[in-house]
């Protein structure tokens, strides 16, 4: 039986800038049931250009870990259907993107919702459940 060396190797990490956007289908799911699977499915994704996917060795449907000093989440990667030049990943505004945002605002009160630098790497983990993101739910964990 051979040894799976792959499991001892850390997946390569890349840096990518994320900007957030709104998606009417995700907002509809939010209105209906923000705790539901549909909202999670439409929220926990990062959309990337074909160029970036090829460069980083990802394909649509892969799970990727996004991490920075403020948090870490696992989401699904999707190839953009549009002709994006690359260099920027797009996430719909949700708790999954909010997990990666700094609270620093230079005292101005507006976080950088649309300018998030992260490290991205392939992941075998499940999509991060909402309860894990909202860590402050310690006092009511069972309810999630």
């Amino acid at each position: 039986m051979g040894i799976d060396i792959g499991k001892f190797l850390k997946n390569p990490e890349f840096e990518i800038l994320i900007t957030t956007f709104r998606d009417i289908f995700q907002v509809e799911a939010l209105e209906r049931d923000r705790f539901g699977e549909e909202y999670k499915k439409l929220s926990a994704i990062i959309i990337m250009s074909k160029n970036d996917l090829e460069k980083m060795g990802f394909k649509s449907g892969d799970h990727v870990k996004l991490a920075n000093n403020y948090g870490s989440v696992v989401v699904e990667v999707k190839e953009s259907k549009k002709n994006e030049p690359g260099g920027v990943g797009f996430m719909v505004n949700s708790p999954w993107s909010n997990a990666l945002i700094s609270g620093e605002t230079d005292g101005k009160g507006i976080p950088e919702f649309k300018h998030i630098m992260v490290r991205i790497s392939l992941s075998k983990e499940e999509i991060t459940p909402i309860a894990d993101i909202i860590q402050l739910t310690k006092k009511s964990q069972a309810l999630f």
Binding site: T19, V27, P95, S102, I110, F113
Partner: protein, 403 residues
């Protein structure tokens, strides 16, 4: 005809059929609006410490928590009627609370400039009837205010624009991504890099003043030429632009000064965010981030994000908002360590960590009132369904009496 509370367009041409005391079908509403009007799967129930409780006890407990707080905050109200907002401001005044809303990290600064008359604006009806050049800047109306283009801006055959989008109107998108709105603006989509708005505005201003800017010279001169020829223009400012230029609104006012035929329209999400901003502005001279100490005092340290980060509040009343969902998780942890009172028609992430929850009627469906559209026009909200849920207004009134 009913009014939709899905976004700040407040579409008042909605038809609805009711079955088993819920809205079964809607006509004319967009995807978001229909979902809002049909209501959520998980209604909020009255509770104390996450245990079901009668509503009177919940209100009494909420009042006790506020009485015992040294630095309470009232937050939200953007999804409440103007009547409830007035009561919310009254409550904040009575208990010397900080009051803030989602405009604090959304379009508040832009709306403040408009209310201060530092930016020229108009009604959406003027745009429908007269506008010939439309600029969607950092704004994907198709996904955020889905009937904007069809009811007010691009597609209608307005009084002076009978040939509609085919001949009489031109739509431009300036954005970091090819949004669904940008797709409609065929041939007039200007892609900018993230945070590239400042450079784009400066280059456009150069082009408008007859110089050849170094940045994307050909496109800038072309765009300047289109804008100069406009008879009645509108710039729809989305949060993409607002976030990018941050507090540097002089840039936008500078550009607006060079485009005297253009009006600025804030693209607002929550249906009555502008109503909240107008009400607080009228009372204190500020649109958000106010602490009542007799009179209303404004400071950026009263922005919800700063109060959570600095742990400077010791109780929070949230009305029709979900800060646990919408704020960075890195700052919202303070909410777990203070008493939170959540007033909402639906269960939210915030309600799941709240000390007291009070279910409210969904405004525009289960309670009536009025609201302020994104352009400042007052729109009436009707009650469609009869049930026992109390309106936000009534809940806040009772809370104020008990506090």
């Amino acid at each position: 005809m009913f009014t939709c509370t899905g976004c700040a367009l407040l579409c008042d041409d909605i038809e609805a059929t009711v079955e088993n005391n819920r809205i079964k079908e809607t006509r004319n509403a967009c995807r978001r609006g229909a979902a809002r009007m049909k209501g959520c799967t998980n209604r909020l129930v009255s509770s104390i410490a996450q245990q079901p409780m009668d509503i009177e006890s919940s209100i009494k407990k909420a009042a006790e928590l506020l009485r015992n707080a040294k630095s309470p905050m009232v937050f939200g109200l953007d999804n409440s009627t103007s009547e409830a907002q007035a009561k919310g401001i009254q409550l904040a005044r009575k208990i010397n609370a900080i009051i803030d809303d989602t405009s604090s990290f959304c379009q508040g600064l832009l709306i403040e400039k408009i209310l201060q008359k530092k930016l020229r604006t108009c009604f959406l009806d003027d745009i429908r009837n007269k506008a010939d050049v439309l600029v969607y800047w950092g704004s994907d109306a198709q996904d955020s205010q889905p009937r904007h283009l069809s009811r007010f801006s691009y597609f209608p055959r307005g009084e002076s624009r009978q040939r509609g989008y085919e001949e009489d109107r031109l739509a431009i998108a300036i954005d970091v991504r090819e949004s669904n709105t940008a797709k409609i603006c065929k041939g007039h989509f200007y892609r900018i890099p993230p945070r590239g708005d400042r450079e784009f505005i400066l280059a456009l201003m150069e082009a408008l003043s007859g110089k050849a800017p170094a940045y994307d010279t050909k496109n800038m001169l072309g765009l300047a030429s289109i804008l100069k020829k406009a008879e009645f223009g509108a710039i729809f400012v989305g949060i993409g632009l607002t976030y990018s230029i941050k507090n540097d609104f002089e840039l936008l006012t500078g550009l607006a000064d060079m485009l005297p035929k253009f009006n600025i329209m804030p693209m607002v999400g929550h249906y009555n965010m502008r109503g909240f901003n107008e009400a607080l502005f009228k009372e204190t001279g500020f649109v958000n981030r106010v602490k009542f100490e007799g009179k209303g005092v404004h400071d950026n340290k009263y922005a919800i994000i700063e109060t959570l980060k600095n742990k400077s509040i010791d109780a929070l009343v949230v009305v029709g908002s979900d800060p646990v969902l919408s704020l960075p998780s890195s700052v919202s942890s303070h909410l777990a360590s203070i008493p939170v009172v959540c007033i909402d028609p639906c269960q939210t992430f915030t309600s799941r960590i709240a000390t007291v929850t009070i279910p409210s009627a969904a405004s525009g469906v289960e309670s009536a009132g009025s609201a302020v559209r994104m352009d400042g026009k007052i729109i009436g909200l009707k009650k469609i369904i009869e049930n026992n849920y109390l309106s936000d207004e009534e809940i806040i009134k009772r809370l104020m009496e008990a506090v």
